[in-house]
Subunit: 373 residues, 2 copies
């Protein structure tokens, strides 16, 4: 008698795995002859690293980036060695053994992390690492003075197998920003001191700054998942996610009726409202209140009032009642109005729309030709 999860779901999130592989291949072609890695941190930007990473490995990706050691351990379960899994936050004394056991590659961000890893390599006998140089983010990575102090020592034969010298661009979404050239120049100077280290500077947007940013390998994340790596230009990436929410109730309302918390929206005329089972607890950010919209049958329906924890209300006055009915669906994310557009509605960036995607959604993964997988 128990129903199936899709039938009882308040909202359905479709994730196009084949599209992610297609996006990776597009980026890999664009970056050639540089190698193309893949960033699958934050659970593959909310889409499920355990589903996404094997598909990328099958497409030819050999090098993956996660943020934390926990993410690295989880990823190793689905990506057997020798797939390379690099951990951006690096090691500290409490987790060195985990790096060794799961054959994870730490990104070393400061002299302390280098020392911790050197000690581990001595103790356990050999280990790979990447070196992170900060060229203008002031976030993670060696400062220039630290690098200059250590470079001679690092250039000598070493028990650490150095898999990369990397840096990260702060303004790659703004091609004209002067910091891009400054960071590129600083990195070029640094590379000369460590000529044996494969070099990497570009993430998604950086790939589109020109081939001089590609170096030995690139590390796209956002563009794999459909975000536009060239804001303001047509998006070359395939849209990956679709989200639709179930209409729980339709109501007729009079002029003057207030809608939702705080009574902040007041109907200017009589109308018909659809209440849908998606809210900020599902990552549909509360900042989208009174700004976002959904779509039914290709027609836009404005979101009225505040986003609630588990619910939003749309004005469906202009929609055929055979479409706007309980049990029907409102599209939240689709090919026409994708993640980047939803981000503008919520006053944020597409990255946050993705990583906020909720746990209550029924998830459907699609492979080649839209087949379920």
């Amino acid at each position: 008698m128990t129903g199936n999860p899709a039938d009882r779901a308040g909202a359905i999130l479709e994730i196009d795995l084949a599209g992610i592989a297609e996006n990776w291949r597009l980026l890999a072609r664009r970056a050639k002859p540089a190698e193309c890695a893949a960033v699958v941190k934050a659970d593959a930007y909310g889409l499920g690293a355990a589903r996404v990473a094997p598909v990328l490995a099958a497409a030819g990706c050999r090098r993956f980036f996660v943020a934390t050691i926990e993410e690295g351990i989880a990823l190793r379960r689905v990506l057997p060695y020798p797939a390379e899994i690099a951990v951006l936050h690096g090691p500290w004394p409490g987790c060195v053994g985990d790096f060794i056991e799961f054959r994870l590659v730490p990104v070393l961000n400061d002299p302390g992390q280098i020392a911790v890893w050197r000690c581990a390599v001595t103790q356990y006998g050999g280990g790979s690492a990447m070196l992170h140089l900060d060229t203008g983010m002031a976030r993670l990575g060696l400062t220039m003075p630290e690098f200059n102090r250590l470079a001679d020592e690092l250039s000598r034969p070493d028990s650490i197998r150095w898999r990369a010298l990397m840096s990260h661009l702060a303004c790659s979404d703004e091609p004209e920003h002067p910091l891009n050239g400054i960071q590129h120049q600083r990195f070029a100077v640094a590379r000369q001191r460590l000529p044996g280290f494969p070099a990497s500077l570009a993430a998604s947007c950086g790939i589109f700054l020109g081939s001089n940013f590609h170096l030995d390998f690139v590390r796209p994340g956002a563009a794999l998942y459909g975000l536009n790596p060239q804001p303001g230009c047509p998006n070359p990436m395939k849209q990956i996610v679709k989200l639709r929410g179930r209409i729980l109730q339709i109501r007729e309302v009079d002029q003057g009726q207030s809608v939702g918390y705080g009574a902040v929206h007041v109907m200017g005329s009589p109308g018909r409202l659809a209440t849908v089972g998606v809210g900020y607890a599902d990552g549909w950010l509360r900042s989208a209140s009174q700004r976002a919209s959904g779509r039914i049958g290709g027609k836009q329906v404005p979101l009225l009032g505040r986003v609630s924890m588990d619910l939003v209300v749309f004005d469906v006055s202009g929609i055929d009642p055979s479409l706007a009915r309980p049990g029907g669906f409102v599209e939240f994310l689709d090919d026409e109005h994708g993640v980047d557009a939803a981000a503008i509605d919520a006053g944020t960036i597409g990255y946050e729309i993705l990583t906020a995607l909720g746990r209550r959604y029924h998830r459907i993964y699609r492979g080649a030709n839209g087949s379920l997988c």
Copy 2:
């Protein structure tokens, strides 16, 4: 050789289960002689319904509210019948069997849901339900005209066992808002037509609007988890969550150095920065960029620049280096600067701070006297 999860965690979230029980008892005393239910939807506002609900049941709570049928099924696994579990979004044809199988009580929001449930009760032989009347939210619940049309029929002996007539206040966080009185009055009129139905109108804030809002039972959620049910007044609730993030790196920076994405923060003087492994993928909302702060040893440290996906940067220039060191911690949420304060920093409400709390945090649950549980 593998480390323990707390040692490798980038951030640690502590949840005070005993404090939640204490908050429930405070609210139950306040609402007496009305019964006190508990709202544990959205995974107990992000804190873990499977951990929270049994503690509330042990404290004496007999009636629980979730939003969705999936949440109801999951909760039934930890709360055996006869604990009452009501599902706010109600039933639709695809999930009626689940309601019966897991002995869940649907909240019926419109004539269609009443018909679906009446049909199920006939087919499966008996079942409880609650009736939801909309008195001013225009979100879920019967409209007044629908109610007036159905009330006589609903007042007659019925195969549905009616567990409640409920409504929900739109502006209960603003005691002076005229809609509170209007909703109370509309609900009072409606109750007269269904005298056999236990009546419920108040959630957390509603409990503090006065005893005339308590009726037969109250349904607190937010206040259980430490949010202030009387915004602008001293908070009578115990703070429930503490969040601290690990410092991954400390760096010295020069005047003029820009920090993070977009280079939006520029150092006005030389300083020292701490990079911490918490970001918007952990629910530390990007809207907190350049606004929020953390604390080290009781001293405030401002968040600089934009919140990244997995990282934030704090200015720790004024902090003793023995405290602001790699492996040390920055407090994000604590008794002094709790969820409501963090919400102001991010331009939202405490509810969203809670439901956004991330999956990557290492979670520690504490029971009586702070013991681990």
